[in-house]
Amino acid sequence: MSIPSPASSKGKSKLKEPENLLILASSPHLHTTTSTQSIMWQVVLALSPAATMAIYYFRWPAVVIILTSVIAAVLTEAVINRLKGETLTITDGSAVITGLLLALTLPPTFSIGGTILGAVVAIGIGKQLFGGLGYNIFNPALLGRAFLQASFPIGMTTWSTPATLAGSAVDGVSTATPLGLYKFEHALTGYADLFVGNVGGSLGETSALAILIGGLYLLIRRFADWRIPVSYLGGVVIIGGIFWAFAPNQFPDPVFHLLSGGLILGAFFMATDMVTSPITHLATWIYGIGMALILVIIRLFGGLPEGVMYSILLMNAVTPLLNRYTRPKIFGEVQS
């Protein structure tokens, strides 16, 4: 950004920014607890449609996993606060979000012990080890999920049919996710089922509709940067679309990419994490497209059917670098 600022040609004092000339994108780690608190609870509210759909589709197991994960996350936060001699930070709601997000990414049949472990790792290693809210490099919920994926590869990939499909019995019927079906059996799932979520999958990822309702609320209230879901989802449509256009028999179409797996959940609620996503606009676009590229490569050519988690974690890791290289020029400073 090269905005001429005549007032700044010399002088050590801070530059007065001309109105409406410089686009400012501030880091949103607010330091007043009240604002952080209110944003965090709004995010919880925005997640509630997805959580409700999870409970509707998967019944009691979903309730148990969500409660376990949230309680374990909050307790871990409280214990670490005590150990570090800090004031309790559990009322800011961030641990609740982490616990809730983690739960929504778990398969409905996942064990309670594993859920607790994931929540402890998410808060303990993913967040508090780096210094608490605002200092973590990776999205804590996804870090916890990555730990679980590496620890319990079978438990994390055993899916059960939604109660609405299974008839009377809720558990016991194992199924594959739409992406798993595509990758290993080359079978497509209907868009309608994908959209409302009547498919196998993690608790909160199945219903695109429910996530979109909450996600749009976040965007409208400006708690999430609209550029992230737009660049991520748009990138997947374009990159996935290119592959599909060249070999429609070999690769799934872009709409399938969009609606299946955890893409929409990840794009609205995890990639947009205020702490771990970039600040400048250019960096945000690169961030979104980078995630899209990694996701499509993993889905089409990787050993795993799904790549949302790794695409977000990997781009989280380069976020500081993106911020650094896209930093707007600072005018008015004397060259040393």
Partner: protein, 202 residues
């Protein structure tokens, strides 16, 4: 301190002496350990052969069209043929010893000699600790199978045909890799064994 500078003559001399000494130590040590290392390798191979082939009292090694076969005899009659199957798994090479009946139609046993699959998932092709009563259930499935036209992998179900094996949960790719390698190598082994010119070794 040893920080004095030296002429190049001394440097050459010292390095030569050190490398010569090193060579001498290694030569002596190698002549002592080499037979033991060879012995272990051969033992591992022999154990694998005896495990994949039916009861026999003698074996001999033949090379046909460049491929090595281990023939097992009970008395004078040929009871089984073993050969190594090698190919790419999920992460690296999988090396197996496969035993078959002399007509190369029925599998008599399978042993995984080397694999570097994902610990805890793909490694279950060789050893599955979650099945404490039968950790080698995966390779045991192959006993008695008829790979004609070829072996196939099925998931989450009990095999019903004589050419089917059940995949390991969570390690579909490794399971499929084993079957793919076997299908390829059985085919080339059949060609070599049935048409090959024979070079007999002991």
């Amino acid at each position: 301190m040893t920080q004095h500078t030296s002429g190049s003559g001394k440097m050459v001399l010292v390095l030569t002496l050190i490398t010569a000494l090193s060579g001498a130590i290694l030569a002596a040590w190698d002549s002592y350990t080499a037979p033991k290392i060879t012995y272990h390798r051969e033992q591992a191979l022999l154990v694998a052969i005896s495990q994949v082939l039916p009861a026999h009292d003698s074996t001999r090694t033949v090379v046909l069209n460049g491929q090595t076969f281990y023939e097992a005899f009970a008395g004078d009659s040929l009871v089984g043929v073993g050969f190594q199957a090698l190919g790419n798994g999920f992460q690296g090479q999988i090396r197996m010893m496969l035993g078959m009946t002399p007509d190369l139609e029925t599998i008599t046993g399978l042993e995984i000699l080397e694999q570097v699959e994902t610990p805890g998932l793909g490694t279950k092709i060789a050893h599955d600790p979650s099945q404490r009563s039968d950790p080698e259930w995966f390779t045991k499935q192959f006993n008695g199978l008829l790979p004609s036209p070829e072996l196939t992998v099925i998931k989450n179900a009990t095999p019903t045909h004589s050419n089917e094996i059940q995949a390991i949960t969570g390690a579909t790719i490794s399971s499929q890799a084993v079957v793919r390698i076997l299908n390829q190598q059985i085919e080339s082994a059949r060609q070599a064994f049935r048409t090959g010119s024979e070079v007999v070794h002991g």
